[in-house]
Symmetry: C2
Subunit: 280 residues, 2 copies
Amino acid sequence: MIVTIIGLGLIGGSLAISLKEKGLVTHRIGVDLSPENCRKALALGFIDEISPDLAAAVQRADLVVVAVPMDAMLTVLPQVLDAVENQVVIDVGSTKSMLLAAVAGHLRRGRFVAVHPMAGTEYSGPEAAVAGLFEDKTLVICDADQSDADAVAQVKQLFTQLAMRIEYLDAAAHDLHTAYVSHISHITSFALALTVLEKEKEVDQIFALASGGFASTVRLAKSSPAMWVPIFRQNRVNVLDVLDEHIKQLQHLRQLIDHEDFAAVYQQIEQANLIKKILK
Amino acid sequence: MIVTIIGLGLIGGSLAISLKEKGLVTHRIGVDLSPENCRKALALGFIDEISPDLAAAVQRADLVVVAVPMDAMLTVLPQVLDAVENQVVIDVGSTKSMLLAAVAGHLRRGRFVAVHPMAGTEYSGPEAAVAGLFEDKTLVICDADQSDADAVAQVKQLFTQLAMRIEYLDAAAHDLHTAYVSHISHITSFALALTVLEKEKEVDQIFALASGGFASTVRLAKSSPAMWVPIFRQNRVNVLDVLDEHIKQLQHLRQLIDHEDFAAVYQQIEQANLIKKILK
């Protein structure tokens, strides 16, 4: 099987590595607007050939993966579908409603399966690509009923072989849930980094004192704006809704601490501890 | 050397393990108000003997470690100093100003060295104790000039042998910096857990979709209220100050997203990315 991967960053590159490792593809064609990314992907060896011609690269493939930031996704995916005959196309994007609306009327809509691998790191670019990124993670397939049954079956089989769990959601539910379990975590991390950078002028002290807990809550603040700004734009309504609730919770804790109502703070922490049941 | 460890939880237990592993102590006496903790510490083998008599356990020791929550610390530390002759006593507490004020006039103040190992996990209790917890972490020694020089030298040597870096701060600076690099991370994590638990009634969806990023930002929300409420109480003024700045940063990001000023969101994320320079 020949795969064409458009967008040679963390997700596209990691997928190229995993597909080859599992023997699921024989040849990997890479497409990326950045000559630097193309050069790196070849040097790292996760792409066998670079193609400057999107349509030709799509036509030669059995499977096409579109792994570009969500703003570019809105224009690239329709171009890919224009070049498709019977191939299967997947995106790997973090938001779905706007993207699915953009290709809703496309003649080849059935060949497209919208998927979101719930896997990622705070790093980006070809050099961030790693083996095993998808193992034991969840793949969400969105609006599966809008895709041809054979295309969905092929995608499901492929990602099951990468040791992913498959979940099905409609696009609206996907965008709501990811606002809670992914997008808000990034916003709190960005805000936490800004808080510390704003107030802690003694940067050496942060470096000396920062322990595992701080590193853990703030690591997502290293994430790329080129990836995250389009996500916040496309999932704006849900993100604002979750952010309002989060600010409300912080203000409540603030008020309890300010009023020295530590019995209530204790209860709030006990309540927060219930997250143990959900997280491993 | 005989060590007496008062408080057989994560930090006390981990220290007991490390001190023995490095051959720095020959006998470990444990003191804990909870019979359950005493039983577990013996069963886990990080304590050689349990003593029900605090004063006797202090008198037999060369080194005394007080590793109880910060509220208990305020009463236990003076009791320990009452029983001390020439031993060295350390706390391992997360806040310092109130504690140091509580023992400021004590006759044996010089034998006490206030330290804070910047190491911990979201787990608590004897079963959370692990080997290697302190390695490559920072130990802050506070108000060293208030302690006898020989006591400070002994503490410095001991923790250097545990592969810790030593930093010196006064108590006020310690409490300010830890509000930024530790306490605020816990509050955002608690608030994030409360946000998700409040709004995400479909708990199965959180479980299925939550990826590494979410787990990372929310893992501190598993932390014990018995440990954290006294910290927030004793460092209340600094915590409120940092919390106000954090809420302000979140409200600013919220406003930019609401007004669709994504160029400014991009800039804010680039600014947050500067945390890369500080975190490994």
